[in-house]
């Protein structure tokens, strides 16, 4: 083995993307003692938070390291076989519910491949994965934050890492924030932006590697500072969602009973429910806020609600598009409104919140996806690269993180074997395979769906229209019945008369346009 560098690969961040990269490198024949993975959490996982559901069986590929992960990993909570989507307004709730025996559990298949989604708690899951990495011989260092990369031929003491992410002194207002790096000498800036990355710097000490993998997650200070172009998006509220959630303890038996779950046995994990909702709970709150803060008059917060059952807790929260947040509304109060909606309140009754938290989620979409995933000697994976599929209602990031890590692991091993870890070589392998993978194909195929689900209508009048219509259609009062279509148009008429914004938003033309987009779901 060639020992001119301290390690073959240094990975920054021991989340799913970083761990998948490390395991894949092992599979490709890189020795465990040539891989070093850092995480700023102590214990590992303690900085991480998800909604969240893990889709797909990406972890199966690492069976040799993880064994029976679906039974043994403490953060892999329940196998989802019961899915609800719906509309929630302040008074009405309409759910479409699917229970699928074939997805697992309820007396259905025992075929593991049918179990394809899990509720996950990341603090527990990541800690377990870190243990497995150590068992596999990888160097794992917890509680270490890396904020400086080593650039070939550049004295790490010649600049302060903090300068790379500070807003510039001369920063104007608006979207055009500049970074102090622009104020450093031009030659230095060029090296920081384009030099060859060959290791990391920790407290002034350099540790070298052939390739550095940036797997820092959604708040990637390094991609900002070292000019991978995800930094351009990460500083904009146009592309970021904020998740706010509580983990609420209900107890395993109560969850099994309340959500009609399979309790699990020696071979199968317990089953669970996943629910994602379009919320129009904020109309009155918004109007109140506009009165006090007229700057953002007309802006309704575009929020999705999520509710997932874990083993003995539930994850209950909202995800809000930051660009849609009007002045005057605190994000945590938006969560409170969700929690108090009667349909949700009933589900958490008797429960006790045991954790609260917030986490950002990139939502770049295809058209704003970064295109610089590699530099000479470095690649970006997972959330740090913005590899999240989000369509306003459904968000998939963890499977993408695992998948991008695998692709990176394969590519890096091949590039090291060829002796060429330039950006060109890494792009020809890693970036190329990433763009050919389901991650990019999904983004492409569902771009119209994203447009549909991001339409403000879905966060204002659609849930109310659907809710009120269902309310009337479902209610039998023993009088002459009218068709659902008639009820729908009746409700539409009332809503248009009640509210000016509705009158415009609910025109036939707009409704038709929305329906046409909706076909692409």
């Amino acid at each position: 083995m060639d020992d001119e560098t301290d390690f073959d690969v240094i990975i920054i961040g021991a989340g799913f993307a970083g761990a998948a990269t490390a395991f894949q490198l092992l599979k490709e024949g890189i020795e465990g003692d040539r891989i070093l993975i850092f995480d700023r959490g102590e214990p590992i996982g303690s900085k991480n938070l998800t909604g969240g559901i893990l889709w797909g069986r990406e972890l199966d590929d690492f069976e040799e390291f993880l064994g029976n992960w679906e039974m043994d990993c403490p953060g892999i909570e329940r196998s989802i076989n019961h899915k609800k989507v719906g509309f929630l307004s302040s008074e009405d709730a309409l759910f479409v519910e699917g229970r699928f025996a074939s997805w697992d559990g309820t007396g259905g298949t025992e075929e593991p491949s049918q179990r394809a989604s899990w509720s996950v708690l990341r603090a527990k899951a990541d800690a377990w994965m870190a243990e497995k990495m150590e068992e596999a011989g990888i160097f794992v260092m917890a509680g270490m934050k890396i904020d400086q990369l080593h650039i070939d031929g550049l004295d790490p003491g010649s600049y302060d890492a903090r300068d790379l992410t500070d807003p510039a002194q001369d920063s104007g207002t608006g979207a055009a924030q500049k970074w102090k790096v622009d104020n450093l000498p031009k030659e230095l800036v060029d090296k920081i932006r384009n030099g060859s990355i060959c290791g990391i710097v920790q407290d002034g000490d350099v540790m070298t590697s052939k390739v550095v993998v940036i797997a820092e997650g959604t708040n990637s200070v390094l991609t900002r500072g070292y000019h991978f172009d995800s930094m351009l998006h990460a500083q904009s509220k146009d592309d970021m969602l904020l998740g706010v959630k509580e983990v609420i303890h209900l107890g395993k038996e109560r969850i099994d009973e309340r959500f009609n779950c399979f309790a699990g046995d020696d071979e199968r994990p317990p089953s669970g429910m996943a629910m994602e909702l379009a919320l129009s709970l904020y109309r009155d709150m918004s109007h109140e806020a506009w009165e006090k803060y007229p700057n953002t008059k007309g802006l309704y917060p575009r929020c999705g609600g999520f509710f997932y059952t874990n083993r003995d807790t539930v994850s209950c929260g909202i995800i809000v598009q930051l660009k849609s947040l009007p002045e005057g509304l605190h994000t945590y109060d938006l969560y409170q409104a969700f929690k108090e909606q009667p349909a949700i309140a009933a589900l958490i009754e008797g429960g006790e919140a045991i954790e609260y938290g917030g986490h950002l989620c990139p939502e770049y979409g295809l058209h704003r996806m970064p295109h610089r995933f590699a530099r000479d000697g470095a690649v970006v994976v997972g959330d740090a690269a913005g590899l999240v599929f989000a369509n306003g209602m459904q968000i998939q990031g963890m499977n993408n993180a695992l998948h991008s890590g695998k692709l990176a692991g394969k590519a890096i091993a091949a590039c090291i074997a060829d002796g060429d870890v330039s950006a060109k070589a890494l792009d020809a392998t890693y970036t190329k395979s990433l763009k050919a993978s389901y991650i990019f194909r999904d983004l492409k195929r569902f771009e119209p769906a994203t447009k549909f689900l991001n339409d403000p209508a879905n966060f204002t009048w659609v849930p109310e229209l659907v809710g009120t219509t269902a309310n009337r259609v479902f209610r039998e009062i023993g009088e002459e019945k009218v068709t659902a279509e008639k009820v729908l148009f009746g409700v539409r008429k009332e809503m248009r008369a009640k509210n000016k914004a509705n009158k415009k938003g609910m025109s036939l033309f707009r409704m038709l346009k929305l329906a046409l987009l909706g076909r692409k779901l």
């Binding site: 938070l49 002194q169 500083q235 953002t296 938290g357």
Partner: protein, 105 residues
């Protein structure tokens, strides 16, 4: 229910929520977020205040004349850094081992 919304009664008890999270707070000289609060006086929107899920930013919404920021309760989400367009927020992760410690995640 709809009455409550009209009266603005949805108030999440943030301090209680934050009390459920473990922290290992670093010393002031190592604060991971530095806010140049003098720049906040001219800000017309206070989006950091509305966005922050941990109520680390307190300003006119709480009847204060000046921005009061404290990093101790920060959940390290990064919202403030994205919301601020005044160049007032300098954001980094806390030093290794410091800051928030989720036990569920």
């Amino acid at each position: 229910m709809s009455e409550a919304i009209k009266l603005g009664l949805f108030t999440y008890d943030v301090k209680n929520g934050l009390g459920l999270i473990g922290y290992n707070v670093d010393e002031h000289e190592h604060a991971h977020i530095i806010v140049e609060t003098s720049k906040c006086n001219d800000c017309s929107h206070m989006m950091c205040v509305w966005g922050c899920p941990a109520q680390c930013y307190n300003f006119r919404d709480q009847g204060l004349e000046e921005m009061k920021f404290q990093y101790e309760d920060c959940v390290e989400c990064g919202t403030c850094y994205i919301m601020c367009d005044q160049g007032a927020v300098s954001w980094n992760h806390p030093r290794g081992g410091f800051g928030i410690t989720y036990s569920q995640g």
